[in-house]
Subunit: 127 residues, 2 copies
């Protein structure tokens, strides 16, 4: 594994069922964003992108200022939503590893689109 995601962009190339009303479309995007909603979720995701697998303590060190409580809480949320996978090794001392699911990896192109959007701020006429 640890397939980086050079080709993740090609998922259902044919298209997906298109929202019919503005309200419906908004609701779907809102639901998608709800998965990402949380002070530390994006930090976690970017730490895990590219197939990187990390232990709890590694994440804790990689993300300055996050508390144990918050790190766990956000990881639990991501796990419950099927974005992050948690693997426990029955050892002493305990060892737990976190990685993205395939769906989690599929987030990459979407976040990149947001990055691009943010990047053109100011490069466009005031309109």
């Amino acid at each position: 594994m640890t397939r980086t995601h050079e080709k993740v962009g090609d998922l259902p190339e044919g298209g997906y069922d298109v929202p019919t009303t503005p309200g419906e479309a908004a609701a779907r995007v809102e639901q998608a964003l709800k998965f990402l909603d949380g002070r530390w979720k994006l930090e976690i995701l970017f730490q895990l992108f590219g197939g990187r697998v990390q232990r709890f303590s590694e994440l804790e060190r990689a993300i300055p200022d996050v508390s144990q409580k918050m790190l766990i809480q956000q990881l639990r949320g991501l796990e419950r939503d099927g974005i992050v996978r948690r693997v426990v090794y029955p050892e002493v001392p305990p060892r737990v590893e976190y990685a993205l699911t395939e769906w989690g990896q599929a987030l990459c192109p979407a976040l990149d689109a947001l990055l691009r959007w943010a990047a053109v701020r100011g490069a466009l006429p005031v309109s």
Copy 2:
């Protein structure tokens, strides 16, 4: 139908300056998402996508359950961030129109990417 953004995708095709660290990338996406953060902003955006210009009262009617206070508040935020443009006509009775700026229109591909991501939920192996 309502393929709102057939050709909006071509912005700075060459690429944008790429974040170097996970933390930096996360911070940029967080900032982008902060612009969209607000209970009614996505609803408003989808009402305005495709170049549709709408009056305050039209938006109020188009978005059920939104209060005047919240509608104004969210519109003010979008305006301050350069996503929405507000045009006042000095008439009696007052008339105000809202539309997306070019940058606001440029959001379309990014939101569409999120839509696609949400759409593949379940179509991917549990990993």
